[in-house]
């Protein structure tokens, strides 16, 4: 085990993103609404040792009730529209919605229109958009670091 720990320490020193420039934190709740699993893999990678989002105070939480950001992947299927709305309704305010990946943004979507409720925008107000199929872990990390600033500015209160 110590061998592994030592190696990870070395890895962090040599390749990890630069030290955090901004204070603050973000609690994310991920909801897969019909992805191909690519966006999930990259999101997991963004939490891995090369990017290590936790160091910036960004972590994935188990319940929308603890979340600042609802991070959505995939074009929303008819079956996931209900659970998605329920997760959003369970969040405390202020809250942000992030659409992760081209599918969530409604770009180049494949599938039978009868099975799809539409891009995230059709169901919820979207604050953060991360394009790509899938977006790279670096792009995800960058967008979430920018979102740190968004949560601190209470500009969205008027929307409720």
């Amino acid at each position: 085990m110590f061998v592994l720990l030592k190696r990870l320490q070395h890895l962090r020193r040599t390749v990890a993103l630069p030290a955090p420039a901004r204070p603050g934190s973000l609690a994310l709740r991920h909801v897969d609404c019909g992805s191909c699993n690519g966006c999930e893999h990259e999101l997991t990678n963004a939490a891995g040792p090369h990017y290590d989002l936790e160091r910036f105070g960004i972590s994935v939480v188990a319940s929308p009730r603890h979340a600042d950001v609802l991070l959505i992947t995939g074009t929303v299927t008819t079956r996931m529209a209900g659970p998605l709305r329920a997760a959003y309704a369970a969040m405390p305010e202020p809250r942000l919605v992030a659409a992760l990946g081209d599918c969530a943004l409604g770009i180049g979507v494949l599938g039978d229109p009868d099975q799809l409720a539409g891009p995230v925008e059709d169901l919820l107000p979207v604050d953060v958009r991360v394009a790509g199929c899938p977006p790279t872990p670096a792009a995800i990390a960058e967008a979430l670091l920018d979102a740190l600033d968004l949560v601190r500015t209470p500009r969205r209160e008027d929307r409720r």
Binding site: M1, V3, L4, L5, R7, L8, L11, H30, V31, D32, C33, G34, S35, C36, N37, G38, C39, E40, H41, E42, L43, T44, N45, A47, G48, P49, H50, V60, A62, S63, G74, T75, T77, R79, M80, P83, A87, L110, G111, D112, D114, Q115, L116, C133, P134, T136, P137
Partner: protein, 473 residues
């Protein structure tokens, strides 16, 4: 490799007898699917015996046909799906529970489990991590699981329907985006099926370049799965070590194929790109380094008694059950089933001397499923370094046999044998069906869990590490 065999048309009346005779001679299920609409949809069946395949078709008159699920238990989900998507009733398949469809009526999909102290634990569709969506309903007494009902298909995007009417070339993105983690395996299976309808046979470069991307896909997936398994036993240094190696493997993909998930590397009838020597040689060295470090990390893990304790004996799948229920991939091999699609279908890809991996203890438990992946990582690195030593050109294909209306492709994805069936009218897709390794193994998982305690489920689940997207389509 011979082209896809001619379809044997069978009367509805002799459907069971025909299938039964084939099964008695040792045929196994590749795939069952429905095509066409009411009132008389067709039911098709692909069976396989070693490297030989047989295709059967029957008309479900008035949308009814006899079930074959008792002859081939692995076809349970296939029949349930054909019912939900094409309205076929399988006489004798009772109860024919909803699978793809999501009826509001609970009784249509939940198995009644009753008795003193029985209660239900419902999980999902949204899970508590970065996990795909799907619903599990556990019937438990105390912590002990009596039965598990899976309700997947929350991510059903209707991809197969969306493919109908497209040209064969345009079907690739559909197969690819069924699942990113199995994108190459799915699209190569699709390309093989499409080429089979066109009468094309890949040349050596195409066979080798496809093998290269299939194995690159296996490399990052197996690293990912070992990382997930370490997370399942709560061993973070292992989780992070394998996650770091996975990231490096995906960077290799990006460098030599232009995409971290190898999207766009498969085309019908030809290769997508060639690799230059410099790129191949740097990829060769990096794959070798990844392989060495992964083997090192795995060795460290095998010396940890607590890791061994946590994995040994959990979620066992007996060899006979694995065979009967049609388990595939690392899950089947961990139970001692000496089978790998890469070794059955030698003519279309490039595996001159591969043998299916054999774990030292094929106990079919979580530990064996981890061990198989570690062993396969070594094989994959060896195949990759071999191919990268003299990198294949782009490759193409040539007419080799008569075109046909139906083609079948089969590829060993990181999760097991993946079958793709394409029905075409000249260059137009009339039906596309994809039966992935995950699809084959989900019902097996549901059968392995009963008897375990609830807290073991996440670990057993991680040792299968199935995709939802692959099954839901």
């Amino acid at each position: 490799m011979s082209p896809t065999p001619a379809i044997e048309h069978v009367d509805a009346g002799s459907w069971r007898a025909t299938v039964s005779a084939a099964v008695e001679r040792g045929a196994e299920l590749d795939c069952l699917w429905a095509a066409g609409g009411a009132p008389d949809p067709a039911v098709r069946l692909a069976l396989r015996q070693g490297a030989a395949r047989r295709l059967f078709s029957t008309r479900a008159e008035g949308s009814r046909v006899a079930t074959i699920v008792d002859l081939l238990p692995a076809a349970e989900w296939d029949e349930r799906e054909a019912h939900d998507t094409h309205g076929v009733r399988f006489d004798g398949h009772e109860p024919l529970r909803a699978l793809v469809a999501h009826p509001a009526d609970r009784a249509a999909w939940v198995t009644p489990v009753e008795g003193p102290d029985v209660h239900e634990v419902a999980v999902g569709p949204i899970h508590a991590g970065i996990i795909e969506s799907g619903h599990f309903r556990f019937h438990v007494v105390g912590e002990r699981v009596l039965h598990l009902d899976l309700r997947l298909f929350y991510k059903h995007r209707g991809l197969e329907r969306a493919a109908e009417g497209l040209t064969l070339a345009a079907g690739i993105p559909v197969a690819q985006r069924a699942c990113a983690a199995c994108a190459v395996a799915n699209s190569v299976a699709y390309a093989q099926a499409a080429e089979s309808t066109l009468g094309l046979q890949p040349d050596e470069d195409l066979r080798r370049s496809r093998t290269l991307v299939i194995e690159l896909e296996r490399l990052y997936n197996h690293l990912h799965d070992l990382s997930a398994l370490c997370a399942g036993i709560g061993f973070d240094p292992g989780t992070m070590t394998f996650a770091a190696l996975k990231e490096r493997a995906q960077r290799v993909n990006e460098r030599i194929a232009g995409h971290r998930f190898l999207f766009g590397t498969v085309r019908v009838g030809e290769g997508a790109r060639s690799i230059d020597d410099a790129g191949a040689s740097s990829a060769h060295d990096e794959v070798q380094a990844i392989g060495r470090e992964a083997a090192d990390a795995w060795r460290t893990l095998t010396f940890m008694a607590s890791a061994e304790d946590r994995m040994r004996g959990v979620g066992p799948l007996a060899k006979e059950d694995a065979e009967r229920w049609g388990a595939v991939g690392p899950v089947a091999r961990a139970s001692g089933v000496h089978r790998d699609a890469r070794t059955d279908e030698r003519g279309l890809l490039w595996y001159p001397d591969l043998q299916p991996a054999r774990p030292e203890h094929p106990a079919g438990d979580v530990a064996a499923r981890a061990e198989v992946r570690a062993a396969e990582l070594e094989q994959t690195c060896a195949i990759l370094t071999g191919l990268l030593t003299s990198p294949p050109g782009r490759g193409s294909s040539a007419a080799a046999h008569e075109p046909a209306s139906l083609g079948v492709g089969r590829v060993e994805s990181p999760r097991g044998a993946t079958v793709c069936c394409v029905e075409a009218d000249e260059d137009q897709i009339t039906r596309l069906h994809l039966r992935t390794g995950s699809y084959a193994n989900w019902p097996v998982l549901a059968r392995v869990v009963p008897g375990a305690i609830l807290p073991d489920f996440p670990l057993i689940n991680k040792s299968f590490e199935l995709c939802y997207a692959c099954a839901d389509r």
